[in-house]
Each structure stands twice: as structure tokens, then as C-alpha cells.
């Protein structure tokens, strides 16, 4: 679904709503020549960078939305705008029906923000101490704090970590503890900027399962950015793709695949050493009689493909699967460059 098709969302969107939001930064330009240094001293050259240009979209309560884009596309900037850390140059932002600028304090009682590259935990204290600090600063009622602490401790398997110093946690453990702290005040909307950054497969799996669970069972709206498209596809129902400060795609992951063609992977295992000749396909790899092809099913249907394969001699096994989303995205990024 393209951006224009989503404009009706504004009427019903209650979690996040951006209308014609532009965010510009000023960047100082410098060169190392003597003339350049003197010029910078007298009249510094500044360049306006448009991180977001007239962006509009809406997110409904209970949605799990992936927010993706290449480096420098404006993902973190959007997260900071939604959480009131930065203000837009133009446009209106509403989060949970509130203005992050004018109602920041009220909003922060209902919003949770986590930046993967920055912990909110106290570095030189045990994890539980950071939780207790949050209870006081957020003014969380004792019973709500106890209940949430019990839940996050159980779901994120934190029991053995609560008395450990933050600085002694592994990255995966630290992210779990950060996520737990984020949830102590029962946020209705959580914004996660690169939460799986640097996590190993086990830690990542745990985090993804947990996020899906709180979205499904508690109705918490989740907006997550990541460079790992496979993770995003597994977690989110909808993906907003940003490129060059504009929303380039808004819809589901299957729709995203169709943009770059109906890319499909066909893995054929042969009984002998022969390599099948698959028309309109590209051979990606061949090893021990297993050949992997990439084919665009816009030109021919699965039915035709199956018919053709049934006529090839020596096939032991055939597997047809969607192209990895990473590949689809990489192709899109290349096109946007």
C-alpha cells in the first residue's frame, strides 16, 4: 500500500500521527585549506540537511510496525521526534493523542523509548537498583511496579540478573534489562530503535518472542527500527520504509516483495552431477548437486515452473521459497541511491 492510500488512517489513528512533518538539521561545512579556515572563522558555511521531508503517516493502537530504511534515512530522527527529544521544523506530531512538545510529561507516563546503542540503566549499580530508581522518578504505584517487575522478570528471564551490575552484563542481558525497565510503567506505546543491535541469535530470538507477546497479549503498540529485515518481517505486520527523508513504502512485507518483482528462490537437488537449465532464472549457487536459483514469478507462474520441473530428468527434490527480505530491501536501497 502506498503512502497516498494510507492518508485515511489519520481519522482513526490513535497511537501515532505525523502530518507533513519536516525535520531539518544545520551542518557546518569545513575544509582544511587556509582560506577555508579563515572563511569559517568569519562566516561559517552551513548546509541544511533534510532528515524528514513532508512525511505523513499514522499508526493505530495495537499495531506492530517496522520502521526501516538505509543509514541516514531518518529513522532515529523520527523516533526522537515521536518521543519529544527533538522538535520538527514543520508539521504536526501526535502521539497517543498528545503533542510530544506541549504534553511531554504526560506522554512519558504512557510511552516507552529504548535506543539500542544507549542504555537507560545505571551503569555502576545492580539492575534492580535502576528499576527502583525508575519507580520513584516515574512515580509508579507500588502495586503496579511489583506486578510489572514480576512479569518482566519471568518473561525476560531476569531473575539471576537483577543483582548484577549493569556494567557486568553481556549485551544481550543488558538489552533484556533495558527492555524490562522500559515496561515497568506499563507503556501503551513503545518505540525501539535498533533493539536487536549486536545481539546473538539466542538473545535476538528471546527479544523478538517477548515483543510479539506483549503486542499480542497486552495490546501494546510497538514501533521498531532495525537493519535486520528478517527480524522485522518476523515481528511486524506492517513496514514503513523511509528513504531520503520520505516514506518510500507503507504496507506489508509481501507487498514489498512485489515492488521489486515476485522474487522467488528455487532450490533443486539433483540425483546426478547435471545442472538443470531453469529458464528466466539466475543460478545463485551450486554445491554437491544442490542448485539454488532466483526467479521472478511475474514472468511465469508457479504452475508453469512446476510443470517445467516435472519434465526435467534426475531431480531428487525441489524447494520453492520466498526470496529473503534482506535481498529485496538491498535491491530497493540500490534503486533509491
Amino acid at each position: 500500500m502506498l503512502q497516498e492510500d494510507r492518508t485515511d488512517i489519520f481519522r482513526t489513528a490513535s497511537a501515532v500521527s505525523l502530518r507533513h512533518v519536516t525535520k531539518e538539521f544545520l551542518q557546518w561545512q569545513r575544509d582544511n585549506t587556509g582560506k577555508g579556515m579563515i572563511r569559517n572563522l568569519l562566516k561559517p558555511e552551513k548546509k541544511t540537511i533534510t532528515a524528514l521531508g513532508d512525511v505523513s503517516f499514522g499508526i493505530e493502537k495495537g499495531e506492530f510496525v517496522a520502521y526501516a530504511g538505509p543509514n541516514g534515512a531518518g529513522k532515529s530522527t523520527t523516533m526522537k521526534l515521536l518521543s519529544g527529544m527533538l522538535l520538527p521544523t514543520a508539521g504536526d506530531i501526535s502521539v497517543l493523542g498528545m503533542s510530544p512538545k506541549k504534553e511531554r510529561r504526560a506522554l512519558m507516563h504512557r510511552l516507552g523509548v529504548l535506543f539500542g546503542n544507549r542504555t537507560e540503566l545505571w551503569w555502576d549499580h545492580p539492575v534492580i537498583r535502576s528499576f527502583e530508581w525508575k519507580k520513584v522518578v516515574w512515580n509508579i504505584p507500588e502495586d503496579e511496579y511489583r506486578k510489572n517487575l514480576r512479569i518482566v522478570t519471568e518473561l525476560l528471564d531476569l531473575k539471576d540478573l537483577l543483582k548484577t551490575f549493569t556494567r557486568e552484563l553481556s549485551l544481550g542481558q543488558r538489552m533484556r534489562a533495558d527492555l524490562a525497565m522500559l515496561l515497568l510503567h506499563s507503556p501503551e506505546l513503545i518505540l525501539l530503535d535498533e533493539p536487536t543491535l549486536g545481539l546473538d541469535v539466542v538473545a535476538k530470538r528471546r527479544m523478538i518472542d517477548f515483543l510479539k507477546r506483549i503486542n499480542r497479549e497486552n495490546g501494546v503498540t510497538v514501533v521498531v527500527t532495525s537493519h535486520d529485515m528478517d527480524d522485522l518481517e518476523e515481528m511486524a505486520h506492517r513496514i514503513l520504509m523511509i528513504s531520503g527523508g520520505k516514506i518510500a513504502y507503507d504496507g506489508d512485507f509481501d507487498g514489498l516483495r512485489k515492488i521489486t518483482g515476485n522474487l522467488t528462490r528455487v532450490v533443486i537437488t539433483m540425483q546426478d552431477e547435471s545442472v538443470p537449465d531453469l529458464r528466466n532464472s539466475t543460478l545463485l549457487s551450486s554445491q554437491n548437486g544442490v542448485h539454488e536459483f532466483e526467479t521472478d514469478l511475474r514472468g511465469s507462474s508457479v504452475k508453469k515452473l512446476m510443470k517445467y520441473l516435472s519434465e526435467v530428468d534426475g531431480i531428487a527434490d525441489v524447494e520453492i521459497k520466498k526470496a529473503p527480505i534482506e535481498q529485496v530491501i538491498a535491491r530497493l536501497y540500490d534503486e533509491w541511491r
Binding site: G84, L86, L87, E103, R105, M108, H109, D124, V136
Partner: protein
């Protein structure tokens, strides 16, 4: 729902800061005590060097050794208050701005001013200089036979407050530069406060007016201890009057607040927010 910022709420914020400080101390008490004692020795060394010179020469610039001791006590109390309430870089605000940490304070559901006022409270690891300052003040007051009346005590508190406001306002004023150039100005408040700290512990009484006046106006080092100490001793210098430090503090605070607010507005609307989690390095 916004919870009201009542006195009780503010005390709660000071309370949790104090609790975190206590737990930090208990985390590794041996190391913490070593750090506290080292800090104390460094500050006493600064103070005692000036005092010993005044003893050796029977005073400095018209101030007797006991008056110099009184001024050093005042200076030590100021250092103590600075450490007591500024343990989280909240006075060295350019560090917080330069390291991209300021916007992260916005995710707390309390006003930024309340956060900055309470987050650096460290009564267990940061009180020692203040306590020693009080002890020195008591000794000096006894030796100088000062009549400690309620009015004199109120004046002392007012001068201490004015000095602290001047220090913080100056730090915030220069730290505004970090909104425009986070990398270059990350440590600018440290330079502004600590770069001239030694100067603020020196009695200026013997100096000519062309040295004294700039140090009471352009660089307020004379207001850090010398001027308030002489006011409390009943001898305000240069005929400026005892209310001068308060006036200076108010004017500087109003000016610094306006400039800082302008810088922050620029930062959140136009500034480049790229940052590294542990601060910028060259």
C-alpha cells in the same frame, strides 16, 4: 496524567539520588573512601597553601590570617556544595549536551529543571568538603569573635546561594556553545569553572583596582569567596555594598537562562543530534 511537582515529589527525587549515591558508596566502600579522601586532600591543599602564606607574612593585602582562614572556609563550603549537588555533570552541563545525553533526559516525566536540580545530589560521597568547610568556618568565626546571630546566618546562606547561582549561571552560559558545536564545546563548562578555580581562592585585597574590578565583573572569581567573605566580616570592598553578589547572581542567571533557552531551542529544532554513547573524542 501529569503528577504534580510538589515539595514532597522533589524531596522524593533528592531521596532517590541520595539512595543511589549511598549504594554507590557501599558498592566498593574502600575505593569510594579513597576517592573522597583524595578529593578532600586536594581541596585542603589549595586552601592551606594560601592560609600558610598569610600566616608566614602576617596576612595578605590587609586581611589577617584568621580572615584569610574565614575566606578559605567559605571557599571550601562552596566547593563542598558544588560537589554535593553536582555529582552527575548537572553543573558541567556542556558534558551532558556534548555527549548527546540531554535529549535523553526528556524521556523522564518530570521537568528538566527538576531533573537537573536533583540528579547530582550526592550526600554520602560528596559532603565531606562541605562538612570540612563548616568546621573551618566555625574555627575562623571563633578566632575572629564573630557574633553569629540569626541575621548573620541568613546572610551567610544568601551569599552561599548567590555564589552558587553565579557559578552555575556562568557554566550554563558558556555551555550554550555546546548546543551549536557539541564536539568542540563538550568540556567548556569544566574550563569555565575549574580553569579559574584557583584564582577564586586568592585574597584580592592587596590587588590594585584594575585587577579587582575585572575579577568582580567580567570574570566573577572575586565573588567566589573574597567579596562575600569580606561582606560577612562587615567590610564590603570597593564600596560596592553587600548586595552586589546577589545582584550580580540575579542578572547573570537571568541572562544565562535566556541564552541557554535559545541554544536549547536551536538544538532541538535545527541542531545536529548525532552522538556517540560515551561522548565525543577528537
Amino acid at each position: 496524567m501529569v503528577d504534580k511537582l510538589t515539595i514532597r515529589r522533589i524531596l522524593g527525587l533528592y531521596g532517590i539520588a541520595a539512595k543511589m549515591d549511598l549504594f554507590w558508596l557501599l558498592r566498593d566502600t574502600k575505593y569510594a573512601l579513597a576517592a573522597i579522601i583524595a578529593d578532600l586532600i586536594a581541596n585542603l591543599a589549595t586552601v592551606s597553601s594560601v592560609f600558610l602564606i598569610s600566616v608566614r607574612f602576617g596576612g595578605i593585602g590587609g586581611m589577617s590570617p584568621d580572615e584569610v582562614l574565614f575566606m578559605m572556609a567559605y571557599s571550601t563550603m562552596i566547593t563542598g556544595i558544588f560537589i554535593l549537588f553536582g555529582a552527575a555533570n548537572n553543573f558541567h552541563i556542556s558534558r551532558i549536551i556534548g555527549r548527546g545525553q540531554l535529549e535523553h533526559l526528556f524521556i523522564q516525566p518530570i521537568p528538566l529543571k527538576a531533573q537537573l536540580a536533583t540528579m547530582g545530589f550526592a550526600p554520602f560521597t560528596g559532603a565531606i568538603n562541605f562538612v570540612v568547610g563548616i568546621a573551618l568556618l566555625v574555627v575562623a568565626a571563633i578566632r575572629l569573635r564573630i557574633r553569629v546571630t540569626p541575621l548573620w546566618t541568613i546572610l551567610l546562606v544568601a551569599f552561599l546561594l548567590a555564589t552558587m547561582v553565579t557559578i552555575i549561571a556562568r557554566a550554563y552560559l558558556v555551555s550554550t556553545l555546546a548546543f551549536y558545536a557539541p564536539v568542540a564545546a563538550e568540556e567548556i563548562s569544566t574550563k569555565a569553572i575549574e580553569g579559574t578555580w584557583l584564582l577564586s581562592t586568592f585574597p584580592l585585597s592587596g590587588m590594585p583596582a584594575f585587577v579587582q574590578i575585572p575579577l568582580l565583573t567580567i570574570l566573577p572569581e572575586g565573588l567566589m569567596a573574597w567579596f562575600p567573605a569580606l561582606c560577612l566580616l562587615g567590610r564590603p570592598p570597593l564600596g560596592l555594598g553587600s548586595c552586589y553578589p546577589m545582584l550580580y547572581a540575579i542578572i547573570l542567571a537571568v541572562f544565562a537562562a535566556a541564552i541557554f533557552r535559545k541554544g536549547m531551542k536551536y538544538y532541538v529544532t535545527r541542531g545536529s543530534n548525532r552522538y556517540l554513547p560515551y561522548g565525543f573524542r577528537r
